[in-house]
């Protein structure tokens, strides 16, 4: 299955914040952080990378100061599924709790507290196994590479 790609422009010279998050002690849930690690290794100018256990309000200041944000997270999927990318709706709101926030919640807080809610994308990495301590599944390993391709594509469009 081919990964979907959203054709959305990113303005030139944008400061891009990439946030990969998840629990790397729980199998495929750590995929987001793996992706963040790879993106960070590119050392691209204008690209800042955060690898986090989970999304917390402490991130909202960095989010508010970015021109564009790319979130990378594992999503429950079936074996063989591919990574995908979708834009977080500009008016998306989330009633999430303070601990387990989602991209919409962080963007909402950034907008409320700092007056800037940047455009954002969510790259979903397919995940099938969330057991404690398990290595990444085959589906997720493939998904991580697909996700990095998607992120590279997003960044290259600026």
């Amino acid at each position: 299955m081919r990964a979907s790609r959203k054709q959305t422009p990113i303005k030139a010279n944008a400061e891009i914040l990439v946030i990969g998050y998840g629990n790397d002690l729980r199998g495929d849930d750590g995929a987001g952080r793996q992706v963040a690690g790879y993106v960070d290794s590119w050392q691209m100018p204008g690209v800042k990378v955060v690898s986090a256990h989970q999304l917390t309000p402490d991130l909202c200041e960095e989010v508010a100061h970015a021109d564009t944000v790319i979130f990378a997270d594992a999503r429950p999927a079936r074996p063989g599924d591919a990574a995908d990318c979708s834009q977080v709706a500009e008016d998306a709101k989330s009633p999430s709790s303070i601990h387990a926030s989602d991209p919409a919640a962080i963007l909402q807080i950034a907008g409320e507290l700092y007056g800037h809610r940047p455009p954002a994308w969510l790259v979903g990495i397919p995940a099938v196994d969330f057991e404690v301590g398990a290595p990444l599944s085959e589906t997720t390993v493939a998904g991580v590479w697909q996700a990095t391709d998607l992120i590279r594509d997003l960044i290259s469009r600026r």
Partner: protein, 473 residues
């Protein structure tokens, strides 16, 4: 007809729990319990592991206070190796513990408790949360977020990451603090101090609104325990144990942490996986004692820093030896201020950027106890090892566990005060939860469990049948 009311799960605390309230035939509260249904098992599955792994292993107990376990475990390892760690290493460990204190207390106050305290207990649940706080007072929310971030930056700059840093090890620490990072932290001190003072100001001005809560959220006499430093000063990393009674009289003093078993026993009850520690000379359950911010402020002679000592003076002028668990919130804010001031002193110490970080040795003792003050209270890691340094036995005495008896009594007190019949309004349910939240319990730490429970409140008849049911969230 007697009834049982269940709150399951309790929200806006770390970990999972439920509260049951038993009504008699006249619909009066006869008893209440705070149940922990989680079980983690670290004390068992760590057997056979190398002692050197224990800081990283036990750091995984919790995602909020991993530093506390990291440090207590490393100290147990220091004892097994029989080393005195280098001065720079001790100062760096202290720095990290202070960062931990700041971020944890800031989380507790601004994220978990402030929605109740500042928006009001009767605000609808859908707005009585951090989003409601952001709308009501965005400036305070912003400051609270940055204050927590400051504590996390201390941890990150030392340990490489904010959660589960693999940094403190038996004998010292793995990496130091470079001058640039030190200066970046130092630059955040004025703002952090101002935020702590602002939060204290807001709380003190509004405390008159909480007179009923102060009387009913765990206001009963107990002993208190914490580490204290030389001269009884507020201590968070080292020192000796002090027990005081509810009037402030010292009951036991200068107790070496490695002798904790002579003073602290652990009971179990069938309705909870959380153990029930008690003061042994008095016995169970009358040997109830509390730990954590309120205990530390009650047991110490001073905070050791200028502004925090002023606040402590005012706190004692108003409350004396504070016995109301509601005042944990106040104590937490004073500790944030003290921690920020102590961080500043450490950053000004030239040894903080030193390079000698670790002492080396082999196993010299087959038993070691590490003790430090976690944000929630005194934490003990007790290890028995073999000659190869493999773990043979582990006992973890967690801060939250030591408050278990008090949390149960708090729930019962609130229930008896507010529940006058089988119908339980939402606001009173939140007061029950808020009473527990005063302790800022970390149930994931204290029971070593992972679990998920649906949000359900059930009223049961005396025959166990469900009389009424309400779900939340």
């Amino acid at each position: 007809m007697s009834k049982q009311i269940i709150i399951d799960p309790v929200t806006r605390i770390e970990g999972h729990s439920k509260i049951t309230i038993q009504l008699d035939d006249k619909s009066e509260v006869v008893d209440a319990h705070f149940h922990i249904a989680e079980f983690r098992g670290f004390e068992k599955f760590c057997e056979g592991r190398p002692m050197t792994e224990m800081p990283s292993l036990t750091g995984r107990i919790c995602g909020i206070c991993p530093v506390s376990h990291l440090l207590a475990s490393a100290k147990a390892g220091d004892a097994v190796l029989a080393v005195k760690i280098p001065a720079t290493a001790e100062k760096l460990r202290r720095l990290m513990n202070l960062g931990q204190m700041i971020q944890s207390h800031a989380l507790s106050f601004f994220y978990l408790s402030a929605p109740d305290l500042l928006l009001g207990w009767d605000t609808p649940p859908e707005t009585r949360n951090v989003f409601g706080l952001i709308k009501a007072n965005p400036e305070l929310a912003r400051k609270g977020i940055r204050l927590r971030q400051f504590g996390q930056l201390v941890i990150e700059y030392l340990g490489g990451k904010r959660i589960h840093p693999a940094w403190a090890v038996p004998g010292g620490v793995r990496s130091g603090l470079d001058p640039e990072s030190r200066d970046q932290l130092r630059a955040r001190i004025p703002e952090s101090r101002d935020t702590a003072l602002k939060a204290l100001d807001i709380f003190k001005k509004s405390i008159a609104n909480y007179s009923e809560e102060a009387k009913t959220f765990g206001d009963f006499p107990t002993m208190f325990m914490s580490l204290v430093g030389p001269g009884g000063k507020w201590e968070h990393y080292d020192g000796l144990l002090r027990f005081i009674d509810s009037m402030g009289n010292i009951v036991s003093d200068a107790v070496e942490p490695k002798k904790y078993r002579d003073f602290i026993g652990e009971a179990v009850e069938p309705y909870s996986y959380l153990k029930f520690p008690y003061y042994k000379p008095i016995g169970y359950p009358k040997g109830i004692y509390r730990v954590g911010p309120l205990a530390r402020l009650n047991t110490c002679t001073s905070m050791g820093t200028t502004l925090a000592d002023q606040e402590l003076h005012e706190f004692r002028f108003r409350f004396g030896v504070a016995n109301s668990s509601f005042l944990y919130h106040y104590a937490r804010l004073i500790e944030i201020l003290a921690a920020v001031e102590h961080v500043e002193h450490l950053l000004d110490d030239p040894e903080i950027t030193g390079a000698h970080l670790r002492a080396s040795a082999d196993v010299n003792h087959l038993h070691g106890v590490g003790c430090s003050e976690a944000p929630r209270g005194t934490l003990f890691h007790d290890y028995n090892v073999d000659r190869d340094g493999l773990i043979k036995g582990v006992n973890l005495l967690i801060a939250t566990g030591q408050n278990n008896l008090a949390m149960n009594q708090t729930v019962a007190q609130i229930a008896k005060n507010y529940i006058k019949g089988p119908d339980v309004p939402e606001a009173i349910l939140n007061r029950l939860e808020a009473g527990v939240r005063s302790f800022d319990p970390c149930l994931s730490c204290s029971t070593h469990a992972i679990g998920e429970m649906p949000m359900l409140v059930q009223v049961l008849g005396h025959d166990g049948s469900v009389v009424a049911e309400r779900s939340r969230g």
